[in-house]
Symmetry: C2
Subunit: 596 residues, 2 copies
Amino acid sequence: MTYRAPVKDMLFCMKELAGIDQLTQIPGFEDAGYDTAAAVLEECAKFNEGVVAPLNWEGDKYPSSFHDGKVTTTPGFKQAFQQFGEGGWQGLQHPVDFGGQGLPKTIGAACAEVLHSANLSFALCPLLTDGAIEALLTAGSDEQKATYLPKMISGEWTGTMNLTEPQAGSDLAAVRTRAEPQPDGTYKIFGTKIFITYGEHDMAENIVHLVLARVQGAPEGVKGISLFIVPKFLLDANGNPGTRNDAHCVSIEHKLGIKASPTAVLQYGDHGGAIGYLIGQENRGLEYMFIMMNSARFGVGVQGLAVSERAYQKAVQYARDRVQSRPVDGSVKGAAPIIHHPDVRRMLMTMRATAEGCRALAITAAAAYDAAHHHPDAETRAQNQTFYEFMVPLVKGYSTETSLEVTSLAVQVHGGMGFIEETGIAQLYRDAKILTIYEGTTAIQANDLIGRKTSRDGGQSAKAIAGQIELTEADLAARNDPAAQSFAKRLKAAREAFIEVVDFVAGQTKASPNAVFAGSVPYLMLAGNLMAGWQMGRALLAAEDAINEGEEVEFMQAKVATARFYAEHILTRVPGLRDSILEGGESACALPLDAF
Amino acid sequence: MTYRAPVKDMLFCMKELAGIDQLTQIPGFEDAGYDTAAAVLEECAKFNEGVVAPLNWEGDKYPSSFHDGKVTTTPGFKQAFQQFGEGGWQGLQHPVDFGGQGLPKTIGAACAEVLHSANLSFALCPLLTDGAIEALLTAGSDEQKATYLPKMISGEWTGTMNLTEPQAGSDLAAVRTRAEPQPDGTYKIFGTKIFITYGEHDMAENIVHLVLARVQGAPEGVKGISLFIVPKFLLDANGNPGTRNDAHCVSIEHKLGIKASPTAVLQYGDHGGAIGYLIGQENRGLEYMFIMMNSARFGVGVQGLAVSERAYQKAVQYARDRVQSRPVDGSVKGAAPIIHHPDVRRMLMTMRATAEGCRALAITAAAAYDAAHHHPDAETRAQNQTFYEFMVPLVKGYSTETSLEVTSLAVQVHGGMGFIEETGIAQLYRDAKILTIYEGTTAIQANDLIGRKTSRDGGQSAKAIAGQIELTEADLAARNDPAAQSFAKRLKAAREAFIEVVDFVAGQTKASPNAVFAGSVPYLMLAGNLMAGWQMGRALLAAEDAINEGEEVEFMQAKVATARFYAEHILTRVPGLRDSILEGGESACALPLDAF
């Protein structure tokens, strides 16, 4: 099962949609233009295609295992992770001051896609470490930064996020893990955390657990949660791992997918108390954790796109090889490779258009993040921040929900062979299912979209984006070719549907919360579909321009064809979602509880 | 993981939608009315809930295993299958003359749902045996019938369908297994068959393989295929299993799901030739096999509905138990069971409405089968046959495709626990994935829908059904309540979309085969959605009538609420499918093959 990083499409998105060369005008990113992106992606592709991707199926066959408090990862993972760290990949987006490469997220998002396509299970360790690094960068003290960041950025140590407890999943108000202040300024941590990704493993010499806990006497609910650093090994005077901390893995889960990634139950304080160090101020833990979580949510969205891309590639390969039946148009006399059959083409195009749309969505969102964080102009920063924040739940929710459809289609293309584990495509179907669940289920993303991103400002940000979409529509409508015309028609219908739903959400959330929230996930799917579609519309325009100038004509023609497919087969789902949201709120909640 | 057979809803479908009491006017079914159905279903529920359902998770944990040519099934399966046979369940729909109970398919379909909900893997053995029995009943000689049917109907022997070979999956023209005529009138069979469900097992004393093979000198392609009985053990003079035949299992597959069901590779003739007995005439094998296959296709559709129902029940149970977060409408002060959250309600309602719609579709189709086979009036028989044949690809395709969505939602309702195998819901997600593949992939069903069921008669049968739907619309529109009004509106939009698509398919299949077949699966999903929706509309009318008469008011109110949800959340998908079919044919096939 080979994998080739779609470098060309990534560079297309960066150049034509995310305007990467404008990035070089931002202080600190002077060298981060197209050529840098191309060079980094080439290296990234080489490493992941050669080292990480071949371990994907191994990880499914030989999952992480637990014995006597220790987790042994899949053979090869430890060596690959060492190479990953040495190659500087963990530090890609992190500050040069702590040993990172200081590259923009625009490039980082593309590299992350390649890593996740190569191996979702493996890539989770860096993904979580990235989140822990970002939390420390934002909220850690100078001493904490100096102590932990260089080792984490070099890949010598890894990070974890400890939120979930058996009674506290989506609802962090229910966290019970407690922190007892000690005279020396440290805390003793007691409690059980579950679903801790890479909570224990053998790939690094230390693990920096970031743990949500309640200090005694803290307020009830989410306003009484603090965040702590709890290293697996306490550091000695030289900053090296020394005494074992009282944070122990007691088991790992037996899961549907991502089997190589150990999902740990961690027990804190069973032997006197785990030593923890407060990050920032007491009771502001949730705020800090959200930094991690937002980073991780975007990352999980990229995982969705990544698994879709890999499933697409594998399905194409099978469809080229498998010979079965004559084409309906008589274009081949005898039995032909199944890629000749229109329904197989429709499935492959659905997969391709979805992956390309989600990639365009992620890379343009990442560019907004870079501008929001680094642009010299405050107004530009604020606009980009608003745009990015609107996109995060869509990148997370839409790219992962569609990855379920894409991996299912990939199994379908394989026919009976798809159901046989050795074929390898079923693994992607199993792996993908976690993506709509962890780092906030799709419903949690949809709540965020409704509450913080739409209702709070009365739908203003949403409508500002709709205004930009309208400009793209006008550009498309002004072209005379059928692809652009067809796209303009579908984009218009989708944008108008979006605006109706935004008005409904902004207007009714308080008056009819059940009706609005019953439509929350459909709204997320509608908005994600539209935003990815909008980027595909922009891509179509850019590709047509390039064709007129004779640049990369074959690639650009394929982009036009794929964009048109998106409009005619995927954007077409939007008006139906609108109808369900606007008219179906009551029926979704009408059945009495005891009638289920 | 408990399961309760939805007997009440089944009886509702039989009485209000399938008119079971009219069945008693058909010769042979005089006693097969409502009371019989109720009594049979009660027994069926008791047996499957108590004996078969508890083995479902066991089968996933302890799959069938292969050693030294023998397959050992999951502990408990053999005993359960013996009870199944002794209880008369294998013979439910088969002729009294051969030991069956001679009940109509209307009742049989409901019983099959219960069996499949209880345990998909277990139920596959009877499903395949049913198909073999039907093929023998139609095409076997009197001697063959007398020899094999009583033992198969009693559950002492089981049956298999041997179609697939490595190079011949969807395309049976490529079958290479050969049959050499012997002087005594028998044949020697040589070849390899793959994906043979229950091709080897320890649950019965003999296995009756029905095998497609080519007699030497037969025409190329599907017109040169014959069908043979190849028993695992040849029969002695008393008709008991004697000498072992040269048909051997060489391995079983390691699969994504339905792990308890052994999927065998069978080797015929490696030791001199397997003895086979021709069924009917040479070169008519495909025709006979279609009898089996049509029976099995309907059965697999029922599997889809069945796994959806079980997933729904399990998700409801979890949603009642799991406490997390406050409801958005403030109806509960603190954290509440998640069934209070609107998005969870939407997911549960989607699952429920899909299962009820597919059940109504299957049971009404089964009633048409009964009338088509047994009604005294030839015209009535013919009409019902046409109706049934139109419905078979929809029952198969729509009920299985939607089972992927339903089982995925069921995992989603479970949150992080859904991804843990011990929770048990992931099994249903894995199991369901085979349903859109075996007995003809969804694309194969869609080809059947386009070719034999729509184009061949110029869309006449399809439009006749649309005419019936229009009558239901008028009945709904005549009611003054919002549920009926909303339903009428959505049903009308869906029916009109269906007619547009039927015109496109009937008119363009020859001129633009690629464009039409690119829309084949969307057409199947559109038609399935509409037909299940139509039955839900009829159900709504019947339920409102019952409410007016004070009958089973709570049940009937739930039916109205579920039907309305179907209209507003599921029928709403239809117009978008129409748009993709009518306008997206070109873009689906536009990308050059080497651009993928």
